[in-house]
Amino acid sequence: MTAQQIDERRLREVALTPDEYRVIVEQLKRAPNAVELGMLGVLWSEHCSYKTSKALLSRLPSTGSAVLQGPGENAGAINIGLGWAAVFKIESHNHPSAIEPYQGAATGVGGIIRDVIAMGARPIALLDSLRFGPLPASRRHFDGVVAGIGGYGNCIGIPTVGGEVYFDDCYAENPLVNAMCVGIVRVDRLMRARAEGTGNSLLLVGADTGRDGIHGASFASVELDEDSVGRRPAVQVGNPFLEKCLLEACMDLAHTDAVVAIQDLGAAGLTSSVAECAGRVQGAGARIDISRVPKRERGMTPYDVMLSESQERMLVVVERGREAEVESIFQAWDLTSAVIGEVTDDGYLTVVDENDLVARLPVELLTEGAPPRRLIGVAPEPPPALDLDELPPLVDPAATLLRLLASPNLSSRRGIFRQYDHMVGDSTVVPPGGDAAVLRVKGTRLGLAMTTDCNSRYCHLDPNMGAQLAVAEAARNIVATGAEPLAVTDCLNFANPDRPEVYWELEETIAGLATACRSLELPVVSGNVSLYNESFPARGEGGPPRSGRPKGAGAAGSAIYPTPVVGMIGLLDDYGSRLEAGLRNEGDFVLLVGSSNNDLGGTEYLKVVHGRVAGRPPALDLTREKAVNKLVLAAARANLLRSAHDCADGGMLVALAECCLLGGIGVRCPSLSPEAPVRLDAALFGESPSRFIVSVPSRAMPEMQTLARRHHVEISLLGLAGGESIEFEGQFKLSLAEMRQAWEGDVV
């Protein structure tokens, strides 16, 4: 066996390419040893280094007057006033959840919570954006993930207040689990994970280090194949009880000023947390002694210790000489802590095992050294066009509405969120089930609205427009609660970018996100990229896709749609003026804000009723979008609105039905005959953006009309709230009971 062959085998194990290896040798001026190679492998994985997406991500706007912390830290932070900061981030745990749904989802939740804790913030809410293949085939993924999210979130006592669940063939083999956490902290207590101060101690706290999750980050950076099941040991196991203790102990750290920084141990474990912490300070390095790391079992090698992804661990940088003070706080919570090393000023990460040198690498090589991958994007064949003239006219609106309400992508999510504690904390003032959730900041009148959104079918049909629509819908969900959208965190889920059409999707998506975020003045302050969400046939199989594989997902057959999940927060100055989606008062006027076009491309209606994924997604005009949002916020502030609901998936009639079902009040409408050229199916089930359904007390109507004119936004009267059914005079009538049966009947 030649040296070259050994290297290739070793390189495959750590997911490095021969080119990357050459760069390493060139920079080090020597060959790395096995531990160093493993450390570089994980930190240069896509998951940690963003080597494929970094250049593109820099196009996203990340600044603004309220931004306290943009990308590059454990989480982003926004100033929400009265001395408070909101800290938040979304992150994917897709690959682990595909293999081991319960633990994959649970540890995804655990990881994102630690990111928020590391900023010094108390986590106050969780949201989960989930994608699965259709049920019942994907039941194992679905049940496991929902149970895992509940299992972790319920135990740790942080409310799960929102998110989304979509089903599509393209996720059958690659489910998506994106978890978002929101925390709050006093602005002057906001922490940053910077290893400042030569000689300061590195304290490792929480769980003992075991052999679990080794190579998790590398594993998340390749496609799943039939061997992936054998990677189950690369999935970590969560202990929410331990994390609860870790959380409270970290909150108690506020009582001392001996703590310089806190850093989560996530992907790539000790290696990345120490390197990243040092990497944020010019010239800083660190020296750690792995013999001092508390271990779960005997015989662990230095390689195991450096690459372990054992959960519920944090690294704390403590002022030299004050270690006992900090350790006593962890001891009170019966947590193990150990000083494992110190901050240095040599720019190297030096790892020793007592007296033996195990690894010595420049911090910069670890954190910034991965050569950017310059991929080429090529637009794929455009999706099938939609010729509206060929689409048969709508015959039975009532039956169609029932079918849509019962469709898995539109039906009530109550069956899911009632499995999550969404109330603990006494802050949830708008619970899940409507547009965005709202949590109050206790001790103030401030309300924080939060949501996640993405319609990946739109993104598949037009990634650029799909990304813009995702931002717009998130903003509309925030506005529907009466809150002003503030900032974004994004989770970009894609297939294998080595395929030019996938890289093109990534480029287009980021361009679309940038366009929408700039226009709506929303900085992107944190986020995550998850690539390689794609399965390929077992080695040697090669041939046509196996049966049951999605067809419409592009050349590779089992690739996911581009899925840029947008997490957004917004602010209400006084949560007392918050709005919910449900109608509240008999006799109120029910209005459609904005106007409907023939936007049937990519809709749920087209998929469910006509079995087609085709056309262009609805066209978004960002200027219009802003005007509509401004109108709704102005009306909310003037106290003219009694309810507000975003009109999105499923179109106007589905949104109207939701307003009725959530409020328990029906609506009586005159017959609806849209003005040509707008078709009836498009008016009822088209998904034109920039629309809301609001209800207004009759006395407020004149003022509402004046306001709408002033904002140059069209409003139209749909009907009057009241009764026990939705009725369009002379067209159809459906009772709330029938609709509820369809909507909640089969609760996923």
Partner: protein, 234 residues
């Protein structure tokens, strides 16, 4: 009136109970650490919700051995008010301060939702502010709230009138469809024979302000606080 709220590792309703006592009710609040065998002169001890010690073995099974629990047992024996909510109810059953046990929900799923409770006793220190057979709206949030007792214990509870809260429909009918977890006899909360140890699965501390969807829970906190005032005056 001084409320003591016990904090075990894994407790999470401590801060919610504390918030209601301190900020909504305006009563005196004292957190009690599980390791401290000292009740610090509290008049009513609350064992709040959570997953003490992760509840990996069995809910409440480890917490009952905490040093603070011995003192709470003595306090209860002297007639002191002890109030177990959710995990606290589970701990009280494990500790033998209340009969029966809480087993896995019949749905085998965690449930977080609003429930209606029929108040069957309003002659207690915990419920004196409730009307006779009042229906109150209080949310639950648990995976193991399915009340179970052997037939003898169950009939003794019923005969002695120890069932304080029962899941019911909005108009007060105790029917199976209103039972969220499969509890025997729709039991949501019980009291010991002496009337000073209450265990309940629903969370009154989550519904003590209208902005949280309801404020019926405050009636229970008020009952305890005002009962103490009456004792002081009389």
């Amino acid at each position: 009136m001084k409320f003591g709220v016990v904090v075990f590792p894994g407790t999470w309703s401590d801060r919610d109970c504390g918030w209601v006592i301190d900020q909504v009710l305006g009563a005196q609040l004292q957190y009690l650490w599980h390791k401290d065998a000292d009740l610090k002169g509290c008049d009513c001890i609350i064992l709040p919700g959570g997953f003490t010690y992760g509840d990996y073995l069995r809910t409440g099974a480890i917490a009952r051995f905490a040093p603070v629990m011995e003192k709470i047992g003595e306090f209860a024996d002297r007639g002191g008010l002890v109030w177990g909510i959710c995990n606290g109810f589970q701990i009280l059953c494990e500790a033998g301060l209340l009969p029966g046990a809480l087993v896995r929900n019949a749905s085998l799923e965690f449930r977080c939702q609003w429930t209606n409770l029929m108040v069957e006793r309003n002659d207690l220190a915990f419920t004196s502010q409730c009307a006779d057979r009042e229906v109150i709206r209080v949310p639950i949030s648990h995976g193991e709230g399915n009340y179970f007792a052997d037939p003898t214990a169950l009939s003794r509870l019923e005969q002695n009138g120890q069932v304080v809260f029962r899941y019911c429909d909005p108009t007060g009918n105790v029917v199976p469809s209103a039972n969220p977890n499969g509890s025997m006899h729709n039991i949501a909360g019980i009291i010991n024979k002496r009337g000073n140890v209450l265990g309940m699965m629903p969370h009154p501390e989550r519904c003590s302000e209208p902005e949280l969807g309801g404020s019926d829970g405050l009636k229970l906190f008020r009952s305890v606080a005002e009962g103490a005032i009456k004792v002081l005056v009389s």
